[in-house]
Protein backbone atom coordinates (compact mmCIF):
# COMPACT_ATOMS: atom_id res chain seq x y z
CA UNK A 1 0.00 0.00 0.00
CA UNK A 2 1.39 3.37 -1.01
CA UNK A 3 2.09 6.33 1.24
CA UNK A 4 -0.57 8.41 -0.43
CA UNK A 5 -3.20 5.70 0.08
CA UNK A 6 -2.37 5.46 3.75
CA UNK A 7 -2.48 9.24 4.07
CA UNK A 8 -5.90 9.41 2.42
CA UNK A 9 -7.14 6.63 4.63
CA UNK A 10 -5.85 8.48 7.68
CA UNK A 11 -7.61 11.71 6.71
CA UNK A 12 -10.78 9.75 6.09
CA UNK A 13 -10.62 8.11 9.45
CA UNK A 14 -10.01 11.51 11.10
CA UNK A 15 -12.95 13.05 9.26
CA UNK A 16 -15.09 10.10 10.26
CA UNK A 17 -14.87 11.03 13.92
CA UNK A 18 -14.34 14.77 14.09
CA UNK A 19 -15.02 15.25 17.77
CA UNK A 20 -12.56 12.57 18.80
CA UNK A 21 -10.02 13.78 16.26
CA UNK A 22 -10.29 17.28 17.67
CA UNK A 23 -9.90 16.14 21.26
CA UNK A 24 -6.95 13.98 20.28
CA UNK A 25 -5.30 16.92 18.59
CA UNK A 26 -6.07 19.39 21.36
CA UNK A 27 -2.89 18.66 23.27
CA UNK A 28 -0.78 19.17 20.15
CA UNK A 29 -2.74 22.28 19.16
CA UNK A 30 -2.23 23.88 22.58
CA UNK A 31 1.41 22.81 22.76
CA UNK A 32 2.33 24.11 19.32
CA UNK A 33 0.38 27.33 19.79
CA UNK A 34 2.06 27.91 23.15
CA UNK A 35 5.54 27.38 21.68
CA UNK A 36 4.83 29.72 18.76
CA UNK A 37 3.32 32.42 20.98
CA UNK A 38 6.12 32.29 23.54
CA UNK A 39 8.93 32.27 21.01
CA UNK A 40 7.35 35.06 18.97
CA UNK A 41 6.62 37.28 21.95
CA UNK A 42 10.04 36.76 23.49
CA UNK A 43 11.75 37.49 20.19
CA UNK A 44 9.59 40.54 19.66
CA UNK A 45 10.35 41.74 23.15
CA UNK A 46 14.07 41.14 22.82
CA UNK A 47 14.10 42.95 19.50
CA UNK A 48 12.22 45.87 20.99
CA UNK A 49 14.41 46.23 24.06
CA UNK A 50 17.59 45.79 22.02
CA UNK A 51 16.54 48.52 19.65
CA UNK A 52 15.76 50.84 22.56
CA UNK A 53 19.19 50.16 24.06
CA UNK A 54 20.90 50.52 20.70
CA UNK A 55 19.20 53.88 20.22
CA UNK A 56 20.90 54.99 23.39
CA UNK A 57 24.13 54.38 21.55
CA UNK A 58 26.45 51.42 21.51
CA UNK A 59 29.39 53.76 21.03
CA UNK A 60 28.71 55.55 24.28
CA UNK A 61 30.07 54.83 27.73
CA UNK A 62 27.98 56.42 30.41
CA UNK A 63 29.75 57.19 33.68
CA UNK A 64 27.98 58.03 36.91
CA UNK A 65 29.84 59.19 39.96
CA UNK A 66 28.45 58.96 43.48
CA UNK A 67 31.22 60.27 45.68
CA UNK A 68 29.27 60.71 48.91
CA UNK A 69 31.40 59.18 51.67
CA UNK A 70 34.54 59.16 49.54
CA UNK A 71 37.57 61.20 50.56
CA UNK A 72 37.97 62.62 47.09
CA UNK A 73 35.67 63.40 44.22
CA UNK A 74 35.81 64.16 40.53
CA UNK A 75 34.03 66.92 38.70
CA UNK A 76 33.41 67.83 35.09
CA UNK A 77 36.84 69.45 34.76
CA UNK A 78 38.64 66.26 35.84
CA UNK A 79 36.76 64.18 33.35
CA UNK A 80 37.28 66.77 30.61
CA UNK A 81 40.97 66.36 31.27
CA UNK A 82 40.70 62.60 31.02
CA UNK A 83 38.80 62.98 27.76
CA UNK A 84 41.34 65.36 26.26
CA UNK A 85 44.24 63.20 27.36
CA UNK A 86 42.74 60.26 25.44
CA UNK A 87 41.82 61.91 22.17
CA UNK A 88 42.81 58.77 20.24
CA UNK A 89 40.05 56.79 22.01
CA UNK A 90 37.26 59.29 22.45
CA UNK A 91 35.76 61.59 19.87
CA UNK A 92 33.16 63.39 21.98
CA UNK A 93 32.28 64.01 25.59
CA UNK A 94 29.36 65.48 27.42
CA UNK A 95 28.26 65.82 31.01
CA UNK A 96 24.50 65.20 31.37
CA UNK A 97 22.14 67.08 33.59
CA UNK A 98 18.53 66.07 33.99
CA UNK A 99 16.31 69.06 34.63
CA UNK A 100 12.91 68.46 36.16
CA UNK A 101 11.50 71.98 36.19
CA UNK A 102 8.24 72.84 34.42
CA UNK A 103 8.38 73.88 30.79
CA UNK A 104 6.14 76.77 29.92
CA UNK A 105 5.41 78.96 26.95
CA UNK A 106 2.64 81.56 26.88
CA UNK A 107 1.06 80.07 30.01
CA UNK A 108 0.83 76.58 28.55
CA UNK A 109 2.80 73.78 30.23
CA UNK A 110 4.65 71.15 28.25
CA UNK A 111 6.03 67.80 29.31
CA UNK A 112 9.19 68.04 27.25
CA UNK A 113 12.40 66.33 28.38
CA UNK A 114 14.97 68.91 29.46
CA UNK A 115 18.66 68.03 29.44
CA UNK A 116 21.85 69.89 30.08
CA UNK A 117 24.64 68.85 27.68
CA UNK A 118 27.94 69.94 26.15
CA UNK A 119 28.59 71.35 22.67
CA UNK A 120 29.68 67.86 21.57
CA UNK A 121 26.43 66.19 22.50
CA UNK A 122 25.21 66.59 18.94
CA UNK A 123 27.82 64.11 17.78
CA UNK A 124 27.07 61.64 20.53
CA UNK A 125 23.38 61.52 19.69
CA UNK A 126 23.88 61.93 15.97
CA UNK A 127 21.59 64.94 15.93
CA UNK A 128 21.34 67.31 12.97
CA UNK A 129 20.26 70.93 12.98
CA UNK A 130 17.13 72.04 11.21
CA UNK A 131 18.02 75.71 11.67
CA UNK A 132 20.06 78.02 13.95
CA UNK A 133 23.05 76.73 15.89
CA UNK A 134 23.84 74.18 18.57
CA UNK A 135 25.01 75.00 22.10
CA UNK A 136 28.55 76.37 22.01
CA UNK A 137 31.53 76.20 24.35
CA UNK A 138 31.03 79.84 25.19
CA UNK A 139 27.41 79.20 26.21
CA UNK A 140 28.67 76.72 28.76
CA UNK A 141 31.55 78.87 29.95
CA UNK A 142 29.32 81.90 30.50
CA UNK A 143 26.17 80.17 31.72
CA UNK A 144 24.18 81.50 28.80
CA UNK A 145 20.41 81.15 29.03
CA UNK A 146 20.02 79.64 25.61
CA UNK A 147 18.60 76.36 24.40
CA UNK A 148 18.03 74.12 21.39
CA UNK A 149 14.61 72.55 20.90
CA UNK A 150 13.40 69.44 19.15
CA UNK A 151 11.06 69.40 16.17
CA UNK A 152 7.93 68.79 18.25
CA UNK A 153 8.07 72.15 20.07
CA UNK A 154 9.16 73.92 16.90
CA UNK A 155 6.17 72.68 14.99
CA UNK A 156 3.47 72.62 17.64
CA UNK A 157 4.32 75.70 19.66
CA UNK A 158 6.18 78.03 17.34
CA UNK A 159 4.73 77.05 13.96
CA UNK A 160 8.19 76.25 12.67
CA UNK A 161 9.88 79.50 13.61
CA UNK A 162 11.18 78.89 17.11
CA UNK A 163 14.54 80.60 16.62
CA UNK A 164 14.80 83.77 18.68
CA UNK A 165 11.67 82.96 20.68
CA UNK A 166 11.90 82.07 24.33
CA UNK A 167 10.73 79.20 26.52
CA UNK A 168 10.49 79.04 30.29
CA UNK A 169 12.12 76.23 32.19
CA UNK A 170 11.63 76.23 35.95
CA UNK A 171 10.80 79.93 35.75
CA UNK A 172 13.94 80.84 33.77
CA UNK A 173 13.49 82.41 30.39
CA UNK A 174 15.69 80.70 27.78
CA UNK A 175 16.27 81.96 24.26
CA UNK A 176 15.92 79.39 21.53
CA UNK A 177 19.03 79.44 19.32
CA UNK A 178 18.60 76.22 17.33
CA UNK A 179 16.09 73.62 16.17
CA UNK A 180 16.94 69.92 15.72
CA UNK A 181 15.91 67.85 12.73
CA UNK A 182 13.25 65.26 13.33
CA UNK A 183 14.64 61.95 14.65
CA UNK A 184 11.41 60.28 15.66
CA UNK A 185 7.89 61.25 14.53
CA UNK A 186 7.72 64.80 15.98
CA UNK A 187 4.95 63.79 18.35
CA UNK A 188 4.51 64.69 21.99
CA UNK A 189 6.66 62.66 24.40
CA UNK A 190 8.65 61.25 21.48
CA UNK A 191 12.41 61.68 21.07
CA UNK A 192 11.61 64.97 19.33
CA UNK A 193 9.89 66.48 22.37
CA UNK A 194 13.08 67.80 23.93
CA UNK A 195 14.98 70.85 25.10
CA UNK A 196 18.79 70.93 25.30
CA UNK A 197 20.69 73.60 27.21
CA UNK A 198 24.29 74.18 28.28
CA UNK A 199 25.02 71.83 31.19
CA UNK A 200 26.35 74.67 33.27
CA UNK A 201 23.13 76.61 32.81
CA UNK A 202 21.12 73.43 33.43
CA UNK A 203 22.72 72.94 36.86
CA UNK A 204 21.64 76.45 37.87
CA UNK A 205 18.18 76.36 36.28
CA UNK A 206 17.38 72.90 37.61
CA UNK A 207 19.11 73.53 40.96
CA UNK A 208 20.83 70.20 40.48
CA UNK A 209 24.16 68.54 39.67
CA UNK A 210 25.66 66.61 36.82
CA UNK A 211 24.01 63.20 36.84
CA UNK A 212 26.29 61.39 34.41
CA UNK A 213 28.98 61.78 31.76
CA UNK A 214 28.87 60.40 28.23
CA UNK A 215 32.09 59.34 26.49
CA UNK A 216 31.76 58.77 22.77
CA UNK A 217 34.34 56.25 21.50
CA UNK A 218 35.90 56.44 18.06
CA UNK A 219 35.85 52.68 17.49
CA UNK A 220 33.14 50.45 18.96
CA UNK A 221 35.53 47.49 18.84
CA UNK A 222 37.69 49.24 21.42
CA UNK A 223 34.84 50.00 23.77
CA UNK A 224 36.01 47.58 26.46
CA UNK A 225 39.48 49.11 26.31
CA UNK A 226 37.93 52.56 26.63
CA UNK A 227 35.90 51.31 29.59
CA UNK A 228 39.14 50.13 31.22
CA UNK A 229 40.82 53.48 30.64
CA UNK A 230 38.01 55.32 32.42
CA UNK A 231 37.79 52.66 35.09
CA UNK A 232 41.53 52.80 35.81
CA UNK A 233 41.39 56.56 36.10
CA UNK A 234 38.43 56.57 38.49
CA UNK A 235 39.81 53.71 40.54
CA UNK A 236 43.04 55.64 40.84
CA UNK A 237 41.14 58.47 42.43
CA UNK A 238 38.67 56.61 44.67
CA UNK A 239 40.83 53.53 45.42
CA UNK A 240 37.59 51.60 45.26
CA UNK A 241 34.97 50.86 42.64
CA UNK A 242 32.06 51.62 44.97
CA UNK A 243 31.79 55.25 43.99
CA UNK A 244 31.36 55.11 40.26
CA UNK A 245 29.68 53.08 37.58
CA UNK A 246 30.48 52.75 33.88
CA UNK A 247 27.61 51.62 31.71
CA UNK A 248 28.51 49.98 28.44
CA UNK A 249 25.39 49.67 26.27
CA UNK A 250 26.76 46.85 24.17
CA UNK A 251 27.53 44.64 27.13
CA UNK A 252 24.11 45.47 28.56
CA UNK A 253 22.50 44.40 25.30
CA UNK A 254 24.57 41.20 25.25
CA UNK A 255 23.63 40.40 28.81
CA UNK A 256 20.00 41.06 28.14
CA UNK A 257 20.02 38.97 24.97
CA UNK A 258 21.49 36.12 26.89
CA UNK A 259 18.93 36.48 29.65
CA UNK A 260 16.04 36.64 27.20
CA UNK A 261 17.34 33.56 25.40
CA UNK A 262 17.56 31.61 28.63
CA UNK A 263 14.07 32.71 29.54
CA UNK A 264 12.76 31.73 26.10
CA UNK A 265 14.32 28.29 26.48
CA UNK A 266 12.73 27.79 29.87
CA UNK A 267 9.32 28.90 28.63
CA UNK A 268 9.55 26.80 25.48
CA UNK A 269 10.57 23.87 27.65
CA UNK A 270 7.45 24.32 29.72
CA UNK A 271 5.33 24.64 26.59
CA UNK A 272 7.12 21.57 25.28
CA UNK A 273 5.67 19.57 28.14
CA UNK A 274 2.21 20.15 26.74
CA UNK A 275 3.48 18.84 23.39
CA UNK A 276 4.61 15.72 25.20
CA UNK A 277 1.23 15.39 26.89
CA UNK A 278 -0.37 15.88 23.48
CA UNK A 279 1.76 13.06 22.12
CA UNK A 280 0.68 10.77 24.94
CA UNK A 281 -2.94 11.71 24.15
CA UNK A 282 -2.38 10.62 20.57
CA UNK A 283 -0.82 7.37 21.71
CA UNK A 284 -3.77 6.72 23.99
CA UNK A 285 -6.33 7.25 21.26
CA UNK A 286 -4.29 5.24 18.77
CA UNK A 287 -4.23 2.32 21.20
CA UNK A 288 -8.00 2.57 21.53
CA UNK A 289 -8.27 2.79 17.78
CA UNK A 290 -6.11 -0.31 17.29
CA UNK A 291 -8.31 -2.24 19.70
CA UNK A 292 -11.47 -1.01 18.04
CA UNK A 293 -10.19 -1.95 14.66
CA UNK A 294 -8.71 -5.32 15.55
CA UNK A 295 -11.20 -7.02 13.27
CA UNK A 296 -10.38 -4.65 10.44
CA UNK A 297 -6.71 -5.45 10.93
CA UNK A 298 -7.57 -9.16 10.80
CA UNK A 299 -9.48 -8.68 7.57
CA UNK A 300 -6.64 -6.73 6.01
CA UNK A 301 -4.16 -9.39 7.07
CA UNK A 302 -6.35 -12.17 5.66
CA UNK A 303 -6.25 -10.28 2.36
CA UNK A 304 -2.49 -10.18 2.36
CA UNK A 305 -1.49 -7.06 4.31
CA UNK A 306 2.03 -7.46 5.62
CA UNK A 307 3.20 -6.15 8.97
CA UNK A 308 4.69 -3.10 7.40
CA UNK A 309 1.42 -2.30 5.60
CA UNK A 310 -0.50 -2.25 8.87
CA UNK A 311 2.35 -0.47 10.60
CA UNK A 312 2.43 2.23 7.96
CA UNK A 313 -1.30 2.74 8.09
CA UNK A 314 -1.31 3.42 11.82
CA UNK A 315 1.90 5.42 11.96
CA UNK A 316 0.70 7.63 9.13
CA UNK A 317 -2.63 7.98 10.84
CA UNK A 318 -0.93 9.13 14.04
CA UNK A 319 1.42 11.39 12.09
CA UNK A 320 -1.46 12.91 10.17
CA UNK A 321 -3.41 13.51 13.36
CA UNK A 322 -0.55 15.37 14.96
CA UNK A 323 0.38 17.17 11.74
CA UNK A 324 -3.16 18.48 11.33
CA UNK A 325 -3.10 19.43 15.02
CA UNK A 326 0.26 21.09 14.45
CA UNK A 327 -1.04 23.15 11.54
CA UNK A 328 -4.05 24.30 13.54
CA UNK A 329 -1.70 25.08 16.43
CA UNK A 330 0.61 27.10 14.19
CA UNK A 331 -2.27 29.13 12.75
CA UNK A 332 -3.71 29.72 16.21
CA UNK A 333 -0.31 30.56 17.67
CA UNK A 334 0.54 32.94 14.82
CA UNK A 335 -2.81 34.71 15.11
CA UNK A 336 -2.54 35.10 18.89
CA UNK A 337 1.07 36.29 18.81
CA UNK A 338 0.41 38.87 16.10
CA UNK A 339 -2.65 40.05 18.03
CA UNK A 340 -0.80 40.23 21.36
CA UNK A 341 2.16 41.86 19.63
CA UNK A 342 -0.10 44.59 18.30
CA UNK A 343 -1.65 45.00 21.72
CA UNK A 344 1.71 45.45 23.48
CA UNK A 345 3.15 47.34 20.53
CA UNK A 346 5.94 44.99 19.49
CA UNK A 347 6.56 43.01 16.34
CA UNK A 348 5.76 39.43 17.35
CA UNK A 349 5.34 37.86 13.91
CA UNK A 350 6.37 34.21 14.26
CA UNK A 351 9.66 33.41 12.56
CA UNK A 352 9.88 30.73 9.93
CA UNK A 353 12.20 28.82 12.24
CA UNK A 354 9.64 28.70 15.05
CA UNK A 355 6.96 27.53 12.62
CA UNK A 356 9.14 24.91 10.95
CA UNK A 357 10.41 23.67 14.29
CA UNK A 358 6.99 23.20 15.85
CA UNK A 359 5.59 21.61 12.69
CA UNK A 360 8.51 19.19 12.65
CA UNK A 361 8.23 18.45 16.35
CA UNK A 362 4.50 17.77 16.16
CA UNK A 363 4.84 15.34 13.26
CA UNK A 364 7.76 13.70 15.03
CA UNK A 365 5.70 13.31 18.20
CA UNK A 366 2.81 11.81 16.26
CA UNK A 367 5.05 9.27 14.59
CA UNK A 368 6.92 8.52 17.80
CA UNK A 369 3.78 7.97 19.85
CA UNK A 370 2.00 6.28 16.99
CA UNK A 371 4.77 3.73 16.70
CA UNK A 372 3.89 1.67 19.75
CA UNK A 373 0.18 1.23 18.91
CA UNK A 374 1.06 0.62 15.27
CA UNK A 375 3.52 -2.14 16.05
CA UNK A 376 0.98 -3.65 18.40
CA UNK A 377 -1.49 -3.71 15.52
CA UNK A 378 1.04 -5.06 13.05
CA UNK A 379 2.01 -7.97 15.26
CA UNK A 380 -1.56 -9.20 15.73
CA UNK A 381 -2.03 -12.79 14.71
CA UNK A 382 -4.49 -12.79 11.76
CA UNK A 383 -6.84 -15.37 13.19
CA UNK A 384 -6.94 -13.80 16.66
CA UNK A 385 -7.65 -10.44 15.07
CA UNK A 386 -10.41 -11.87 12.88
CA UNK A 387 -12.06 -13.60 15.84
CA UNK A 388 -11.91 -10.48 18.01
CA UNK A 389 -15.32 -9.28 19.11
Amino acid sequence: MGFYQAFKLALKSLAGNKMRAFLTMLGIIIGVAAVIILVSLMQGLTGEVTSIFSDLGTEVLTVTVQSRGATRTVDDKDLYELYEANGEIFSAFSPNVTVSGTVKYANTEYSSTVKGVSEEYMEIEDYELESGRFISYADIEYYQKVCVVGSYLNKEVYNGSAIGKYIKVGGNKLTIVGVLKETDDSSEKSGDDLILLPYSTACKVGKTQISSYSFFVRDTKKITYAEDVIGDYLYGIFKSDDYYMIINMQSLIDQMDEMMNTMTMVLVGIAGISLLVGGIGIMNIMLVSVTERTREIGIRKSLGARRRDIMRQFVIEAGTTSAVGGIIGILLGAAVSILLGNLIGIDATPTLLAVALSAGVSIFIGVLFGYLPASKAAKLNPIDALRYE
Binding site: G298, R300, G304
Partner: protein
Protein backbone atom coordinates in the same frame (compact mmCIF):
# COMPACT_ATOMS: atom_id res chain seq x y z
CA UNK B 1 0.18 -35.11 -9.62
CA UNK B 2 1.08 -33.13 -6.49
CA UNK B 3 -1.88 -32.10 -4.36
CA UNK B 4 -2.53 -28.37 -4.17
CA UNK B 5 -3.22 -28.73 -0.43
CA UNK B 6 -1.30 -31.36 1.50
CA UNK B 7 -1.78 -31.56 5.29
CA UNK B 8 0.44 -34.11 7.00
CA UNK B 9 -0.40 -35.17 10.51
CA UNK B 10 -1.54 -31.77 11.67
CA UNK B 11 -2.20 -31.04 15.34
CA UNK B 12 -3.65 -27.88 16.83
CA UNK B 13 -3.73 -28.05 20.59
CA UNK B 14 -5.09 -25.39 22.91
CA UNK B 15 -4.11 -25.57 26.55
CA UNK B 16 -6.84 -24.38 28.86
CA UNK B 17 -5.25 -24.61 32.29
CA UNK B 18 -5.10 -28.34 33.08
CA UNK B 19 -7.08 -29.41 30.02
CA UNK B 20 -5.89 -29.56 26.49
CA UNK B 21 -8.24 -29.16 23.59
CA UNK B 22 -7.20 -30.94 20.42
CA UNK B 23 -8.93 -28.86 17.77
CA UNK B 24 -6.97 -30.75 15.14
CA UNK B 25 -5.84 -34.17 16.20
CA UNK B 26 -3.55 -35.70 13.64
CA UNK B 27 -5.25 -34.59 10.45
CA UNK B 28 -3.83 -35.66 7.10
CA UNK B 29 -5.63 -34.44 4.02
CA UNK B 30 -4.77 -34.04 0.35
CA UNK B 31 -6.83 -31.85 -1.93
CA UNK B 32 -6.12 -31.68 -5.65
CA UNK B 33 -6.57 -28.87 -8.09
CA UNK B 34 -10.15 -28.46 -9.27
CA UNK B 35 -11.76 -30.27 -6.36
CA UNK B 36 -14.88 -29.09 -4.56
CA UNK B 37 -14.59 -30.25 -0.97
CA UNK B 38 -17.22 -29.78 1.71
CA UNK B 39 -16.06 -30.05 5.30
CA UNK B 40 -18.84 -31.04 7.68
CA UNK B 41 -19.07 -31.90 11.35
CA UNK B 42 -20.68 -30.86 14.58
CA UNK B 43 -20.11 -27.51 16.14
CA UNK B 44 -16.75 -27.44 17.90
CA UNK B 45 -15.45 -30.42 15.95
CA UNK B 46 -12.55 -28.44 14.50
CA UNK B 47 -13.70 -27.43 11.01
CA UNK B 48 -12.73 -23.78 11.27
CA UNK B 49 -9.45 -24.70 12.88
CA UNK B 50 -8.60 -26.81 9.88
CA UNK B 51 -9.76 -24.16 7.45
CA UNK B 52 -7.64 -21.47 9.18
CA UNK B 53 -4.58 -23.66 8.93
CA UNK B 54 -5.29 -24.33 5.27
CA UNK B 55 -5.71 -20.57 4.77
CA UNK B 56 -2.41 -19.70 6.49
CA UNK B 57 -4.33 -17.64 9.01
CA UNK B 58 -3.20 -19.91 11.81
CA UNK B 59 -0.21 -22.15 12.40
CA UNK B 60 -0.48 -25.78 13.52
CA UNK B 61 1.02 -26.85 16.83
CA UNK B 62 2.60 -29.78 15.04
CA UNK B 63 2.67 -31.23 11.56
CA UNK B 64 3.58 -30.19 8.06
CA UNK B 65 1.57 -28.30 5.52
CA UNK B 66 2.49 -28.17 1.85
CA UNK B 67 0.69 -25.67 -0.31
CA UNK B 68 1.40 -26.06 -4.03
CA UNK B 69 4.30 -28.27 -3.02
CA UNK B 70 5.84 -25.63 -0.78
CA UNK B 71 6.23 -26.16 2.97
CA UNK B 72 4.35 -23.20 4.41
CA UNK B 73 4.46 -24.17 8.10
CA UNK B 74 7.96 -22.75 8.22
CA UNK B 75 7.16 -19.38 6.65
CA UNK B 76 7.17 -16.14 8.61
CA UNK B 77 4.31 -13.69 8.97
CA UNK B 78 4.96 -11.64 5.86
CA UNK B 79 5.64 -14.64 3.64
CA UNK B 80 2.32 -16.13 4.73
CA UNK B 81 0.68 -12.79 4.00
CA UNK B 82 2.10 -12.99 0.50
CA UNK B 83 0.65 -16.47 0.00
CA UNK B 84 -2.77 -15.41 1.31
CA UNK B 85 -2.67 -12.53 -1.09
CA UNK B 86 -1.69 -14.49 -4.19
CA UNK B 87 -3.12 -17.98 -3.72
CA UNK B 88 -6.06 -17.81 -1.37
CA UNK B 89 -9.48 -16.18 -1.43
CA UNK B 90 -11.56 -16.15 1.75
CA UNK B 91 -15.31 -16.05 2.16
CA UNK B 92 -16.50 -15.74 5.75
CA UNK B 93 -19.83 -16.31 7.40
CA UNK B 94 -19.77 -12.75 8.77
CA UNK B 95 -18.81 -11.33 5.34
CA UNK B 96 -15.99 -9.37 7.08
CA UNK B 97 -16.30 -6.27 4.95
CA UNK B 98 -14.70 -3.05 6.21
CA UNK B 99 -17.59 -0.76 7.11
CA UNK B 100 -15.96 2.57 6.28
CA UNK B 101 -14.87 1.51 2.80
CA UNK B 102 -17.35 1.34 -0.04
CA UNK B 103 -18.00 -1.80 -2.09
CA UNK B 104 -15.39 -1.02 -4.74
CA UNK B 105 -12.72 -0.14 -2.15
CA UNK B 106 -13.45 -3.32 -0.22
CA UNK B 107 -13.00 -5.45 -3.31
CA UNK B 108 -9.81 -3.55 -4.23
CA UNK B 109 -8.14 -4.28 -0.89
CA UNK B 110 -6.31 -7.49 -1.73
CA UNK B 111 -5.22 -5.93 -5.03
CA UNK B 112 -3.91 -2.95 -3.08
CA UNK B 113 -1.74 -5.22 -0.97
CA UNK B 114 -0.65 -7.01 -4.14
CA UNK B 115 0.81 -3.68 -5.20
CA UNK B 116 -1.29 -3.13 -8.31
CA UNK B 117 -1.80 0.32 -9.77
CA UNK B 118 -4.98 2.26 -9.13
CA UNK B 119 -6.29 1.73 -12.65
CA UNK B 120 -5.54 -1.97 -12.66
CA UNK B 121 -7.18 -2.36 -9.25
CA UNK B 122 -10.34 -0.60 -10.30
CA UNK B 123 -10.52 -2.61 -13.50
CA UNK B 124 -10.15 -5.99 -11.77
CA UNK B 125 -12.45 -5.05 -8.88
CA UNK B 126 -15.17 -3.87 -11.25
CA UNK B 127 -14.86 -7.04 -13.24
CA UNK B 128 -15.21 -9.18 -10.10
CA UNK B 129 -18.25 -7.20 -8.99
CA UNK B 130 -19.77 -7.64 -12.40
CA UNK B 131 -19.42 -11.39 -12.07
CA UNK B 132 -21.39 -11.38 -8.82
CA UNK B 133 -23.96 -9.00 -10.33
CA UNK B 134 -23.24 -5.91 -8.21
CA UNK B 135 -22.02 -3.47 -10.85
CA UNK B 136 -24.64 -0.96 -9.77
CA UNK B 137 -23.54 -0.85 -6.12
CA UNK B 138 -19.90 0.22 -6.44
CA UNK B 139 -20.23 3.30 -4.28
CA UNK B 140 -22.50 1.78 -1.63
CA UNK B 141 -21.24 1.10 1.84
CA UNK B 142 -21.65 -2.41 3.31
CA UNK B 143 -24.41 -1.30 5.70
CA UNK B 144 -26.44 -0.15 2.71
CA UNK B 145 -26.61 -3.69 1.33
CA UNK B 146 -28.63 -6.78 2.18
CA UNK B 147 -26.89 -9.78 3.72
CA UNK B 148 -26.89 -11.63 0.43
CA UNK B 149 -25.45 -8.64 -1.37
CA UNK B 150 -22.75 -8.25 1.26
CA UNK B 151 -21.83 -11.90 0.86
CA UNK B 152 -21.60 -11.36 -2.88
CA UNK B 153 -19.25 -8.43 -2.27
CA UNK B 154 -17.06 -10.66 -0.14
CA UNK B 155 -17.11 -13.30 -2.91
CA UNK B 156 -16.08 -10.63 -5.41
CA UNK B 157 -13.29 -9.65 -3.04
CA UNK B 158 -12.13 -13.28 -2.82
CA UNK B 159 -12.20 -13.54 -6.60
CA UNK B 160 -10.62 -10.25 -7.54
CA UNK B 161 -7.02 -11.35 -7.23
CA UNK B 162 -7.77 -14.54 -9.17
CA UNK B 163 -6.60 -16.98 -6.45
CA UNK B 164 -6.37 -20.67 -7.23
CA UNK B 165 -8.08 -21.73 -3.97
CA UNK B 166 -11.31 -20.37 -2.52
CA UNK B 167 -11.90 -21.07 1.16
CA UNK B 168 -15.43 -20.53 2.44
CA UNK B 169 -16.25 -20.94 6.14
CA UNK B 170 -20.01 -21.29 6.35
CA UNK B 171 -20.66 -18.73 3.64
CA UNK B 172 -24.37 -19.38 3.70
CA UNK B 173 -24.71 -19.56 7.47
CA UNK B 174 -26.39 -16.19 7.71
CA UNK B 175 -28.43 -16.35 4.53
CA UNK B 176 -31.92 -17.62 3.67
CA UNK B 177 -32.26 -20.75 1.56
CA UNK B 178 -32.83 -18.92 -1.71
CA UNK B 179 -29.75 -16.71 -1.31
CA UNK B 180 -27.75 -19.68 -0.05
CA UNK B 181 -28.66 -21.43 -3.25
CA UNK B 182 -27.35 -18.50 -5.32
CA UNK B 183 -24.09 -18.45 -3.43
CA UNK B 184 -23.68 -22.21 -3.84
CA UNK B 185 -24.43 -22.03 -7.56
CA UNK B 186 -21.85 -19.35 -7.87
CA UNK B 187 -19.23 -21.43 -6.09
CA UNK B 188 -20.06 -24.35 -8.37
CA UNK B 189 -19.62 -22.12 -11.37
CA UNK B 190 -16.21 -21.07 -10.10
CA UNK B 191 -15.34 -24.71 -9.57
CA UNK B 192 -16.36 -25.47 -13.14
CA UNK B 193 -13.97 -22.76 -14.26
CA UNK B 194 -11.12 -24.61 -12.55
CA UNK B 195 -10.92 -23.10 -9.07
CA UNK B 196 -10.35 -25.35 -6.11
CA UNK B 197 -13.08 -24.84 -3.52
CA UNK B 198 -13.06 -25.80 0.15
CA UNK B 199 -16.36 -25.14 1.86
CA UNK B 200 -17.44 -25.57 5.46
CA UNK B 201 -21.15 -25.99 5.92
CA UNK B 202 -23.76 -27.21 8.35
CA UNK B 203 -26.31 -27.57 5.60
CA UNK B 204 -26.63 -31.14 4.37
CA UNK B 205 -28.32 -30.14 1.14
CA UNK B 206 -25.38 -27.91 0.32
CA UNK B 207 -22.74 -30.45 1.29
CA UNK B 208 -24.58 -33.00 -0.81
CA UNK B 209 -23.70 -31.04 -3.92
CA UNK B 210 -19.97 -31.12 -3.29
CA UNK B 211 -17.85 -33.62 -5.22
CA UNK B 212 -16.17 -34.70 -2.00
CA UNK B 213 -17.17 -34.54 1.64
CA UNK B 214 -14.82 -34.60 4.65
CA UNK B 215 -16.43 -35.18 8.01
CA UNK B 216 -14.63 -34.12 11.18
CA UNK B 217 -15.28 -35.19 14.76
CA UNK B 218 -13.17 -34.11 17.75
CA UNK B 219 -10.41 -32.89 15.49
CA UNK B 220 -10.18 -36.11 13.49
CA UNK B 221 -11.31 -36.98 9.98
CA UNK B 222 -13.91 -39.70 10.31
CA UNK B 223 -15.13 -39.78 6.74
CA UNK B 224 -13.57 -38.75 3.45
CA UNK B 225 -15.35 -39.69 0.25
CA UNK B 226 -18.11 -38.82 -2.16
CA UNK B 227 -21.20 -36.94 -1.08
CA UNK B 228 -23.71 -39.71 -1.74
CA UNK B 229 -22.31 -42.21 0.78
CA UNK B 230 -21.42 -39.46 3.26
CA UNK B 231 -25.00 -38.98 4.23
CA UNK B 232 -26.48 -42.45 3.86
CA UNK B 233 -24.07 -43.58 6.60
CA UNK B 234 -25.71 -41.40 9.21
Amino acid sequence: MTPIIDLRDIYKIYYMGENEVRAADGVSLKIYKGEFVAIVGQSGSGKSTLMNIIGCLDVPTMGEYYLNGEDVSELDDDEQAYIRNKTLGFIFQQYNLIAKLNVLENVELSLLYAGLSKNKRTELAKHALERVGLSDKLKNYPNQLSGGQQQRVSIARALAGNPSIILADEPTGALDSKTSREVLDFLKKLNDEGNTIVLITHDQSIAAEAKRVVRIRDGKIIYDGDAASAFEKR
